[in-house]
Symmetry: D2
Subunit: 304 residues, 4 copies
């Protein structure tokens, strides 16, 4: 039945192609074709359904911030909230203004400043490098040991990351990060350069729909409360500066990346991953958002 | 059973009293005793449970902004969104900064600027006065025709509303409101001065938990989509600048008022109203938030 | 000789006409012809020279803020600086942002917020109305008892002054003004509606070039230190957000108004008034600025 | 006679010691004794007068920004103003907020962002390194070939310059600088680490008081217009966020550094350098400002 739903969704979103714009701030992303589309649902009974290029890996970009947060919660528990807030920023995801006004304390872990702080917190405990630790964690969650960091994207990203370098230095000037700003930035760029498919993402994030339990691993990967809270942060901070519009249209906790991916959680029901590279003006996948809206309309799984 | 839950909640929150501060910016609110506590749940089958002073009317203040929005949706339909946004502001609810930077376009209908625009939109269609129309609408929703505007609070509010007057004039200077700024402000102050009990609120907002259907009236008072959308706006914009923290702790769409009331919606389950005048630093009821957190913990009704 | 200079200046600025824009935010200003030009110099020996329509009265607008400040210094002495700052704002003259960030304390007496505070300070002492007191003061300084407030401009200004009303209410909400915001605003609008000629202005401001001494009255109208300080405030805060550019081009303390007038002070040398209604993007007279630049070039009176 | 004036000034400022705070953000500055005081005047006839430790070299810090600007004007002429503004910022000298709001275009050459752009412009033309070029230029202007960069201060500054690194990266992200951000930052830190005495400074800046002519070199080092314009920028942008207060008290174009030095220009009269390490809250030498105020009071050289 979920297969039917996905087929209907794929049909319904067809008129949306050609209205957005593929991210072009680095060559490695700009050369991705605009007409990709893939979608995958894994429900709480671990049933999987998919449509289109659901097994094709793409650059997950900011979706990786959720993995970093989940790992930081595992490592530091509630203490991570002493280093980063949990409020929507009301500003662009890469704003320095708010960071300066608020003494170098990032509003939430999904704006760039907050993700840099989360990555810094992972570097403190892990000699191997935060990027390596996140990669290992993601491979286990997705049960796919071929997942890799795209070195080309990571390098390209780092070479042009002047604004993020500014954020990292500003964090350092406020003492909000402990490690060298450029090393934190490099780990951050590498984590954002993870390549995963919709199938990988839906599997890896399924515990957020199952109150922390991973059907694949047969164990809790976080507490029920932690799962609910990560969902809450996604709900209020996950979609750049279109958090409200997305809640309005889709009504599910979600996180997007400029590679065109979105992961959405229907608590108690399923994890849904969608990929389509054309972005709307807020930097969220245009077709992906439409697909999730159609999915919610057909399945009535809205959290609202 | 819900009665048992509420009794447990009331017990659990007792240690929280004395840690907040009753709103004191106008005498009419400042003289309210700090130890009030009432809570009421009405579920989708219209079963009611309550504890404490659930039938005691209090000043609902900003909770009234949800009624104004619901009525504006009824009157203008989707067009209301051409006049006000649906994104969290990331700023204080009474900020002029964002309004100036964004050309007089309010971020959402629950900050003061946005609510003034919604009230202005109601004045255009209703000769009788927007306050009167909202009052009639609320009475019908709550099925209680003794609900009144507290004239004392309304007057007191208006006399000290210099900041809101500044907002109203700034909106007018940008052409965002049509009517005289001070008349809009007066209607707004009167609507915020509505006196209702937890029971009234839970009954009146029950349609938001029932996909737009009012069990009391036996009819839809809004479409399913409208109900979901009002919930989404509450989720991302309803709790002043503690939207993320509230989602994190409670995970339900909600709206608070400085009178100490909070209305929360558990979609598909119930509407929950709570009242306790002591406020936390964000202006939300301190004991009320704790009560909702306990309620969600006991009933597992979180939307996350 | 100054007559020759002014004739040369008038010749040199001719190509500048037609490149600016007459203020059009109120009808009473918008209907002024764009090709007016007048200029008048009164030197410290009270010798007068003029060219063009130097005796034609026009709406002095923000130039009036200097008179209000001079009078407030006379009434309150140094205490006025407890109510308003003396730093350039770096923002637009009618910004609410800075005022909100800085707790309702205006940066300087020449932005609208600061001028409203100065006018409020004059209302406290003067039952007759601050506008009347300023009018009397200006008539004496200029030795012209036919100077009047333009009632048409004052009314028109007040009717559209929503942004200034917002500022006045914001000041009131912070307790920075004592009187009713709309009464302060009315007095402010009336003061800005003063009609004076270049000759009136140059005569009235001559004491600022003479260390506080008025040759016309044969007495000091302020202390030497006060004269130097008013000049310093004009130098750093007098030309809206083009303070630096004006200092760069002209190098004299000055104050402009949207009516197209500018008064400039060459300390120890002269007071220079110029009028031409076309404004540049910062709201300063375009031809007037060019005329002052030419004047400084010819006479070498730059303070720099 | 100027010697008498300086002796009186030195006497008058004695009660001011102990009320400020030596800059302590880097050890190399923090260990400077707080009770130093030196002052030197060189008039347009090249007569020199001094008092106290006028020949003792100290870290000139931001005063160096004026040298960088003078050299950039020599190299690029008026074109430098296409890369940096000339308006007071109204914000802290190291603010990122304004830079972000204004698309990476610095308000003026004396805030850190603007000085970095000026240094970048010097790097483009000079293979040897902008710091070396500025050093050579300063030695010639001061006619003192023992002037050096303090390597200890430069290193210490660079090691803690996270906020300036953030600014440099933000400039780079907007394309406002051409060179590598960290190389620009290093050159900037080295230029700010110049060690000069009051005598050196007064001699080197004398051309600004002489319409561009250097009595020491017997030639113009800039045009008259350039000299006036550098003075104008100092007048409106030279004293951090106390530009207006300084103009109010002293009324001369000036530039300060956190090492406790201030250079002031009395156009047509003299260049005055003063040094005393205790800073006021704006980061300007507390005793130095008082000394200049006393000097102006005694000599009547105010530009206002």
């Amino acid at each position: 039945m979920l297969d039917d739903v996905l087929r209907t969704v794929a049909e319904e979103v067809k008129p949306q192609f050609g209205r957005g714009k593929v991210a072009d701030y680095i060559p490695a992303l700009a050369r991705v074709r605009s007409d990709h589309f893939g979608m995958c649902v894994v429900d709480v009974a671990a049933r999987e359904a998919s449509v289109g290029e659901a097994s094709e890996p793409f650059s997950i970009q900011s979706i990786a911030k959720v993995f970093a947060l989940m790992l930081a919660l595992r490592v530091h528990g509630h203490d991570i909230w002493t280093r980063v807030g949990k409020e929507p920023s009301g500003s662009r995801f890469d704003s320095l203004v708010q960071l300066e006004y608020e003494g170098g304390w990032p509003r939430n872990p999904f704006i760039n400043a907050g993700a840099l702080v989360v990555v810094d917190s992972l570097m403190r405990r892990h000699r191997r490098g935060a990027d390596r630790v996140v990669l290992d964690y993601v491979r286990v969650l997705a049960q796919n040991f071929t997942i890799e960091i795209d070195e080309d994207v990571a390098r390209s990203e780092l070479a042009t990351a002047h604004r993020n370098a500014a954020i990292a230095h500003l964090l350092k000037s406020h003492g909000t990060i402990d490690n060298d700003p450029l090393q934190v930035l490099e780990a951050y760029c590498r984590i954002c350069a993870l390549r995963m498919s919709c199938l990988d993402l839906a599997r890896a994030f399924l515990p957020l729909a199952c109150r922390g339990y991973s059907p694949a691993l047969g164990e809790d990967v976080m507490t029920e409360q932690q799962a609910r809270r990560v969902n809450a942060i996604m709900m209020t901070c996950g979609m750049y500066d279109a958090v409200g519009s997305f809640a309005f249209r889709v009504g599910l906790p979600a996180k997007s990346g400029v590679g065109g991916g979105i992961i959405a959680i229907a608590p108690g029901h399923s994890a849904i991953a969608v990929w389509s590279p054309e972005l709307d003006r807020s930097g969220n996948s245009l077709v992906g958002t439409a697909a999730l809206e159609a999915f919610v309309h057909l399945t009535k799984v809205s959290a609202m």
